[in-house]
Symmetry: C2
């Protein structure tokens, strides 16, 4: 539905964490990204070719993808100038921000004038049911984190890739804008109306073959007070058979919450598992996924080994060292 | 904003639990309800004067309030006939259903034709912020339940009434359509977009005097898989200093979920308190509110006494026996 390839717009993203959408596209569909476009003050850098709008078009880009997530998801005036210029040059625009492209009259006017499309992947296109809690066939794995932005999507993406390569039946189920932009489908969970959150996840992950695994993309954290309700709905709507604990060990405080300290992996396990067992009494914690991007390789391997021993669970950084220990754990269930 | 008094429309509500909105209005603002209007097959009865639309108008009713909550909140064809007739007879209509009055073209046309108002109290009228988790001044009490519809709103309403009567500073903060219809303001939490749920509760319960108590209306249950995400957002957005555990001891299964058993009060305490302490480490469980409507008085008193002893907490049915033990617990903090 969204025309590829993309030019990735990073705007004035303060840091790499804010560029999660663009990074996901680069890493999981590298063929879709011809380059990056950054504004003054941008603190994010994907290492892609630096392009302005004209260079992007010359490289074949058909869609300008807004690759950054702002706090609150607002489209600034500085951004709007670029987006209007892009429409005039023949780009479609795709965005996962709360502030919809279609709600900005200048963008709508420019898109109409130039016959271009505005894709708001954040907006639900389905009227989801209220969750009924009925047990579904097939198996489900959910990644839960000590914080937001600790690698839950990467974990599920990496596991899907490795499981399919092994001949297992596995489907990544996107619950956020990045996953939807990458895979072309899913539930934009953080834009779903509260009463229908759990039902949207039941809808996303329906009955399936007994040996099929849905790898449901996690969101937020039970310990992140801004988004914990979203996480709770995933745990109960997802009915996971397997939980993966996700962690980023160098985080000094919860993302965006300077007064909040991330919990330990033990606290995450002891909080998430009983809640998951409300919907699926057979649920187990099967492994640990550590985002080691801020550690050198020796430190990362040491941390993983010690954590695995301490928690008596397989532990890996699936992006850096592969997801094999986690996939082995699912295969053994 | 909504003109009083009301005629309470019960439709074809299957039972009294479905008529929560109407019961709340009858109990907390009896002067606002001139009577009840029931369709064939209605299993709910408020004990109010039975009236058709004409009799309601003759008794002075200005607004027809939809007093029932359907699963999914849909306006049926049978209901629509009544609502259109009501608009023709000079009623405004107020509703807290997900299915908005304003989304029904025949209702909009009839309201326009007759110059009447359609009030959808379910729809947020504010763009809520994302929660920032910053500690607020003043004190907050939140009721959490073993299930939905166990008396959380009644508990907070009763405590507010008794606290104000004692000269304490207290404000009921509505988070559902009944509370909003009764008090005229609040956050329709189950209609808020997922990412803004906790922020809407921060907005609802701002900084206040150090000795002021907000009595925040609870929603759902951490153990009800359809709505647990909403409850989680209340616990983290509310930053409660005090939790009241709410329970209905005769419930055989979770409301609407035949395969799910309600948890014990101990399990509720041990689940809700650590989650609340993420946002407010000083939070305490201070009392128990039991909905004893299906028990005779001797059984109810016996249950309360045993439960209080077992849990080492004050326990009462605030509607039947008064909220004094709970208010005493807040006054002692």
């Amino acid at each position: 539905m969204i025309e590829t390839p993309y030019l990735l717009f990073l705007g004035d993203a303060p840091d790499m964490l804010a560029a999660k959408v663009a990074i996901g596209i680069r890493d999981w569909r590298p063929d879709h990204a011809v380059g990056q476009l950054r504004l003054a003050g941008c603190g994010a850098d994907l290492g892609l070719a630096e392009m302005d709008l004209r260079a992007g078009r010359e490289a074949g880009a058909k869609t300008l993808v807004i690759g950054v997530a702002n706090r609150g998801g607002v489209i600034s005036a500085a951004w709007k100038d670029v987006l209007i210029e892009a429409l005039g040059m023949g780009y479609d625009i795709a965005s996962g921000l709360h502030n919809l492209l279609r709600d900005e009259p200048e963008l709508v006017a420019a898109a109409n004038e130039h016959g271009r499309a505005l894709h708001d992947v954040r907006v639900p296109s389905v009227q989801y049911p209220i969750a009924n809690g009925v047990k579904r066939t097939g198996k489900r794995c959910l990644a839960v984190g000590t914080d937001c932005s600790v690698g839950k999507m990467y974990t599920a993406m990496a596991m899907e890739r490795d499981m399919v390569a092994r001949g297992m039946k596995a489907t990544f189920r996107a619950t956020g804008q990045t996953g939807i932009l990458i895979t072309g489908g899913g539930v934009p969970l953080d834009a779903v109306i509260a009463d229908f959150m759990a039902g949207s996840i039941e809808y996303l992950s329906p009955d399936n073959d007994a040996d099929h695994w849905d790898l449901i993309e996690g969101q937020g954290s039970l310990f992140h007070v801004s988004y914990s309700g979203v996480t709770m709905a995933l745990i109960h709507g997802g009915q996971p058979d397997a939980l993966i604990l996700c962690h980023e060990p160098t985080r000094a405080h919860m993302r965006g919450l300077p007064d909040y300290t991330p919990p330990s992996l033990e606290t995450l396990r002891d909080t998430a598992l009983p809640l998951a067992q409300v919907a699926n009494p057979a649920c187990k914690v099967v492994g640990i996924s550590v985002n080691t991007q801020h550690m050198d390789e020796a430190d990362a391997r040491d941390y993983l080994e010690k954590t695995s021993k301490r928690m008596d669970l397989p532990a890996t950084d699936p992006y850096r060292f592969g997801s094999k220990p986690l996939v082995d754990a699912l295969a053994a269930m």
